[in-house]
């Protein structure tokens, strides 16, 4: 990085550069930084005024939040980048999403022994809502998706896999490639899948199907029911609906894995 030189020679050189710039109609970067500082102060007070009138809207209205986020994205601004940002400090958007991030992490951690670190967005949504209590603000699935996108920077494999019109949220760094994803999508309808179904629907050879299913078993994302009538069934706990599942303790989970 340059440092401004001292001495008469440097000053003269600088004056020449400045003159040349102003001649060509270009503004120097340092002048622009001063300009930006002033504009920032103005913007800050505009934002304060906006906040005093509409802060509640952001907290209470999920649709408004979506609009807000999309507008920010369009102009190239990330309101959630830092808790120290204006958006966060004055509108309170930050706290809303960062706290949601904490709740998402905690739910995923609590259920990991059961579903291996994979959960449907629906189930995550329901459990987060339950954890927040009746008087907490409404949280939409869009809110969850945005919070999860932010969590990704902390490593730990937070990701989203499109499945059946919605998403599966992954919270562990398990390696899941296209083959795994497509089998998960196949299993989405019934909560389980068999080798034959994979071969019929996807036209894979037996080895490829078994390889993928073994990997899912190893990662704890699938459970094997070898006593099913006909063929062995590979169940995905992440896809169990609330209706037919009950909570399983870690000890029970250990006994169930083959």
């Amino acid at each position: 990085m340059h440092r401004r030189g001292v001495g008469a020679g440097a000053i003269a050189k600088k004056k020449l550069a400045e003159a040349k710039y102003k001649e060509r109609g270009n503004v120097l970067a340092e002048d622009q930084i001063v300009q930006m500082s002033k504009q920032l102060e103005t913007f800050k007070s505009n934002l304060e005024e906006f906040a005093s009138k509409h802060k509640q809207e952001i907290r209470k209205n999920p649709q408004f939040r979506v609009q807000f986020q999309e507008m920010c994205a369009t102009i190239g601004v990330d309101p959630l980048a830092s808790g120290k940002g204006f958006w966060s400090e004055m509108l309170g958007v930050g706290d809303f999403y960062y706290e949601l991030g904490v709740q998402i992490i905690e739910v995923c951690l609590a259920l990991k022994h059961r579903n291996g670190g994979l959960i449907t967005l629906d189930e995550l949504h329901q459990r987060v809502l339950k954890g927040r209590g009746k008087y907490a603000q409404d949280v939409s699935q869009d809110d969850l998706v945005r919070a999860i996108k932010k969590l990704k920077v902390m490593g730990n494999g937070f990701g989203m896999i499109p499945v059946g019109g919605s998403y599966l949220v992954q919270s562990v760094p398990a390696e899941l490639n296209m083959d795994h994803t497509v089998v998960l999508q196949l299993a989405e309808k019934k909560g389980y899948v068999t080798v034959s179904e994979i071969r019929d629907s996807l036209k894979w050879e037996k080895e490829r199907a078994c390889h993928v299913l073994d990997h899912l078993l190893k990662e704890g994302l699938a459970w094997l029911d070898s006593q099913a009538a006909g063929e062995a069934q590979y169940w995905l706990p992440a896809l169990f609906s609330e209706l037919i599942s009950r909570d399983v303790t870690p000890e029970e989970a250990n006994q169930m894995t083959p």
Binding site: M36, Q39, K53, F68, G83, F86, Y98, G101
Partner: protein
């Protein structure tokens, strides 16, 4: 289903989207419609449905077609799904063509395979109460039935009074929201100016036009932080952190000592995130704030380090816990028990499964352990080779 017309699904000028819900299947009366599962959209003027896979397949029906509607609860069993039954006026003469020429049923159903029926029903009730389509017409002529009653089985005076109050409140809220949107748009215009100015400055820094001092660059970075503008140029030369992150790093250095000791000298970054933010209660840290602060540990000579494992897992660990010690103790534990899985190791040390797995993998990488990878799990043995 013959009340629907083909549509491009785009909202008109005065039309606002109220709610949308995925996973909706349409029924012509009691029969499944010859359409797949799609997205149902409710606007101030219409009920719109779009096929999820084929976006060109989109149909719409004016809300004025609706006589009344009711919920049909889901039955018992995994397959049964909650529905909303919508009773409709006869087909108007000037209706645009749609997916069905004719239907024997005067009602349709929306089947909510991914739930959302409660909220959808609530919003539909609101829209049918307010009838916003009557006050703001769309640019295309929409065939309307006669003024419909709202879907209610009882019409006691008390209820009408309450409905009026709700409508009043809704109109106020609507006004507030539109004002909020207007103000937001104006704000965004100003924010956009800031973004453009910052890009111009960043370009000049990159091209080294003009003399910028260290101080000015650092100040510029803090402006970017305030606005939430990313800047790859200054990140290259000065890193992502600012004074704020410097202070944060020092705070974390103090705050995390004890928790790290308790957890064997290492914590996953997500654990740290939850711990710190739960403690703060408000003015929470963003995930990026945390990462940027942790990156500064080394330059500040704090006794903590941010570390990224091959798997992508990020942890904060105490400097004092050296690599060799961890690996040596891992080897001891494994030799002691003959073999260990990550879960067993975790139980032994009181660590999370994630971190104990990383330790075993590290010991394996250094050649002290080898693995037995089977369907029954990943087990580690001392390396006798």
């Amino acid at each position: 289903m013959d009340r629907f017309s083909w549509s491009n699904g785009l909202l008109e000028i005065n039309e606002t989207l109220v709610i949308q819900q995925r996973g909706v299947r349409l029924y012509d009366g009691d029969d499944k419609a010859k359409l797949d599962v799609g997205v149902a959209l409710l606007s101030t003027h219409r009920l719109i449905w779009r096929d999820v896979k084929n976006h060109e397949c989109c149909i719409a029906m004016p809300l004025s077609q609706i006589i009344f509607f009711e919920e049909q609860a889901a039955g018992i069993g995994k397959r049964s799904v909650a529905k909303i039954v919508i009773h409709l006026y006869p087909v108007p003469a000037n209706k645009e063509p749609g997916p069905y020429q004719h239907s024997k049923y005067p009602y349709i159903k929306l089947s909510f395979k991914e739930h959302g029926q409660i909220e959808f029903y609530r919003r539909l009730t609101e829209e049918m109460t307010q009838k916003r389509w009557e006050s703001t017409s769309l640019s295309q002529p929409i065939p309307t039935g006669t003024s419909p009653q709202v879907g209610r089985k009882t019409h006691a005076v008390g209820i009408i009074g309450i409905e009026r109050k709700i409508e009043q409140k809704r109109k106020e809220t609507d006004k507030n929201i539109s004002e909020a949107f207007e103000d937001l748009s104006k704000l965004m215009v100003k924010a956009k100016e800031m973004v453009e100015l910052s890009r111009s400055i960043a370009n000049k820094i990159k091209d080294k036009q003009g003399d910028i001092t260290e101080d000015e660059t650092i100040r510029f970075k803090s402006y970017l932080l305030s606005m939430g503008i990313a800047d790859p140029v200054t990140r290259e030369t000065h890193g992502s952190g600012t004074h704020y992150h410097l202070q944060l790093a020092k705070q974390l250095g103090d705050m995390l000592q004890a928790p790290l000791e308790e957890r064997g000298g290492m914590m996953a970054l997500t654990e740290v995130y939850c711990l710190v933010n739960r403690a703060r209660g408000m003015e929470l840290l963003s995930p990026e704030d945390l990462v940027n602060a942790c990156k500064m540990f080394e330059s500040l000579k704090l006794p903590l380090r941010l570390r990224v494992f091959d798997s992508g897992v990020m942890v904060v660990q105490l400097q004092s816990h050296s690599e060799e010690e961890m690996i040596a103790s891992a080897l001891d534990n494994v030799s002691d028990k003959g073999s260990l899985t990550a879960e067993e190791f975790a139980k032994l040390l009181g660590l999370s499964v994630l971190l104990s797995k990383e330790r075993l993998l590290l010991a394996e990488k250094m050649g002290h352990l080898c693995r037995d990878d089977s369907v029954e799990g990943l087990r580690f043995y001392p390396n006798l080779f």
